[in-house]
Amino acid sequence: MAIGSDRVRAEIIDIQTFPRITRKHRVSAIPKTFINYDDAFIGTEEEAEILDRVMRAR
């Protein structure tokens, strides 16, 4: 989606390299995905579901 839209940015953060930021966002299971650090889900979702979350992002 980041490649598909210049309004979407995708950050991938390794929890072992960045333990502090991982704790800050209370990541207790991975993969954990945040949308604008507001909405979040653990595991994977279908493309349509992720799109829905992105379109609803605050």
């Binding site: 940015r9 995708a10 950050e11 953060i13 390794d14 072992q16 960045f18 995905t33």
Partner: protein, 187 residues
């Protein structure tokens, strides 16, 4: 839909191995196991992160690219245990295709570039194609993440996301900037 497809479609690359630097202080007990991955090889004594199998997979994934991809790696000399490996790894990935280039920058010395690319910690890789893809990888894309990262490099060079047409249509109407952040691990 498989994880691969979701990850591919979203441009999200899940993560990897925390390796210890070859020249780092004596490794703690837990680091010794990882140390083996980061070995010296070849007659030139060059450091390697990837094995021949991974290099071969990357060469295959990155062959015949239509466009160019650029990896912009931010590092720091101090207080960055993984920056050395990150640089070796990115050099190895870039070596797999003449269409993939690497730029290595110091986060502190090149802070205007870092700000422009929205990078504030190291090691960080900004993935650029003919335009900025918006993809940033913080850490080392090894192990489970390696293949996905290499595929993201390919898509950056091609400029074509692996998304359904409906998804592309909907994204065209996106008004606000959205950041998708995925926390991952290598194990």
């Amino acid at each position: 839909m498989s994880l691969e497809r979701i990850v591919a479609g979203t441009g999200i690359v899940p993560s990897l191995l925390a390796l210890s630097l070859a020249f780092a202080p004596p490794a703690a007990a837990g680091e010794e196991r990882l140390f083996a991955f980061f070995h010296r090889g070849g007659d030139k004594g060059e450091r390697h992160v990837l094995g021949e199998k991974e290099l071969s997979a990357a060469r295959s994934a990155l062959q015949d690219l239509q466009g160019e991809a650029r990896l912009v790696l931010f590092t720091e000399e101090k207080d960055c245990k993984e920056c050395g490996e990150a640089e070796v790894l990115m050099r190895e990935i870039a070596s797999c295709s003449p269409k993939v280039s690497l730029e290595v920058l110091s986060l502190s010395a090149e802070n205007s570039r870092a700000e422009e690319l929205g990078v504030d910690k190291v090691p960080a890789v900004a993935l650029l194609g003919s335009a900025d893809t918006g993809i940033r990888y913080y850490g080392l894309p090894l192990g489970y993440e390696f293949e996905t990262f290499v595929n993201a490099v390919r898509r950056a060079a091609e400029g074509e996301p692996e998304l359904a047409p409906e998804t592309m249509d909907a994204l065209g109407g996106l008004e606000k900037p959205v950041t998708i952040t995925v926390f991952v691990a290598d194990t």
